[in-house]
Amino acid sequence: MSNGLVKGNAYTLGSIEQGEPCCDPIPHFSINNLAVSYHNEMVLSNVSLEVYKGCITALIGPSGCGKSSFLTALNRLSDMVPGAEVSGDIVFEGENIFDASIDVRALRTKVGMIFQKPNPFPLSIRKNLELPLKEHGVRNKSEIESKIFDALQSVGLWDEVKDRLQSSALSLSGGQQQRLCIARALILEPSVLLMDEPCSALDPISSGIVEEMIQRLAGRYTIIIVTHNLAQARRIANYAAFFWMTERVGKLIEFGQCRPLFESPQHSLTAAYVSGEMG
């Protein structure tokens, strides 16, 4: 880790189970010819790429080039946006998520999402985790307790909050709130986490902790992260996708392993962007 984590401060992480390293590129999401438009205005077109299982894929590019639209299509949260239309195919675990037979709520439990601004419910810390569990049919008390413990452990929050699970989630710091939100997504045992600039609303220390946590979650989960922080993308991602806007429509310019994309980009736009000359 290149950020300055001080050992033994209040923000130390709990033990985290690490998954297999990301070596075999097994597609988890296969995206083919995806396009997104709002009120008939195209914002993203012709995106095809594969997101590999257990890897961290970073989506980079300037604001407004369709990265977030791409992300929200993956768990069909785009359904919620008035006027949004998505076309193309997204195959997730063998099924096209736009098929009529897809249970969107089940899809969203498998594909968790973390937002830019931490958004815990205005409930107690415990209830924030309990509510989604109960919603998806987990009623057994001891099962709920152990899942809450596991989820808080995975995000390194257990030691910080174990004595005050009843207090308001809004009383936590921004970084803690964000980790609670990640725990809330993890508690449903997803296989994928979508993250929309999860660190950009946090102070540098909290941001560092969340970043380290994301790295440790890789392997166990497939992670797709939108970030404007190129250094962060470079530090944590296995794969990177560079988006750029041409003629007011977002396009995928280059996709590949993170290091080559940064060090020897194939496309001149990518080269200009990652070197900071443009964007």
């Binding site: 768990n75 919620m80 419910f121 409930l123 509510l131 449903l188």
Partner: protein, 280 residues
């Protein structure tokens, strides 16, 4: 600049002071003139000699029955419509905008118009006659637009973040509504409810046409009944020597509204505390 700020501050204080003064004068007049009349007998007796003497028991009962009839109709319809408007309809559709416009116009329609409508529709067309039911339903029509618009505004003020969070966790909109959105919006909903109850208890014109002004004890909600506001109006306009009883009734009406307000806000606060964990 400091001079302008100073004089502006003084003017603001004077304005606020004037309002307080007028309000204080009004309430203290009612309290001073009405308090001597207030007694257990006054609350529990039937009125005699057109209300100059005796009490206001049947009138209190009628008032509460009219209010309850109205609330039974208003609460489900009002909350339902507000939830539809705020959560389930597409904000920009023509249907929604038209609905909002109609509600805003209705909220400003003078009560006498509602009275005439209630008289023609409930008493006449539906053949409910001069009855507490007709009066309550007419009041319900008056209260609905206020309750719907305030509840809708309360729900709209709940951060969008939580709706996105809920959806991303695969939660149903119903769960989110009951567990997060409605409890969080409950102070606003209660405020709207109290505003509409205030409008209802103060109502005279619409009730004279619909629930009538018979001052005996109603036997059921199909019976005619006189509301407190109607009683006050009658005593002060039509009954010579009814002033004391009129003041007494006005004081009772004020107390009734205060009690309703306090209990409604306590209940909603209790619900809020139980459901929502806020920063203290």
């Amino acid at each position: 600049m400091a001079m302008i700020d100073r004089s502006f501050t003084i003017i603001i204080w004077i304005m606020a002071g004037l309002v307080l003064l007028a309000f204080g004068w009004l309430v203290s007049d009612v309290v001073v003139q009405g308090a001597p009349k207030l007694s257990w007998q006054f609350l529990m007796d039937e009125p005699t000699r057109s209300g100059r003497e005796g009490g206001i028991y049947p009138i209190i009962v009628s008032t509460l029955l009219i209010l309850m009839t109205a609330l039974v109709v208003v609460l489900p319809l009002g909350l339902g419509s507000a939830i539809w408007l705020a959560e389930f309809s597409s904000k920009s559709s023509k249907r929604v905008r038209t609905t909002r416009l109609i509600l805003d116009v209705l909220a400003g329609v003078p009560s006498i118009v509602f009275g005439l409508f209630g008289y023609a529709f409930f008493c006449g067309f539906l053949d409910l006659g001069f009855s507490i039911l007709s009066g309550g339903l007419t009041l319900a029509c008056m209260m609905l637009p206020i309750l719907i618009r305030t509840t809708e505004a309360g729900l709209a003020a709940v951060p969008q973040d939580w709706r996105k969070a809920g959806a991303a966790l695969g939660m149903s909109r119903t769960t989110l509504l009951w567990q997060v959105l409605l409890p969080y919006a409950s102070p606003a909903i209660t405020a709207g409810l109290l505003l509409s109850i205030g409008r209802a208890t103060a109502e005279t014109a619409a009730l004279i046409f619909t629930s009538g002004y018979v001052d005996r004890m109603p036997e059921s909600i199909n019976d005619s009944g006189r509301a407190l506001a109607v009683h006050i109006y009658d005593l002060s306009m039509n009954v010579v020597g009814g002033d004391k009883a009129s003041y007494g009734s006005a004081l009772v009406l004020i107390l009734m509204v205060v009690i309703i307000n306090l209990s409604a806000s306590t209940l909603s606060e209790f619900w809020l505390e139980k459901k929502i964990s806020r920063l203290k």
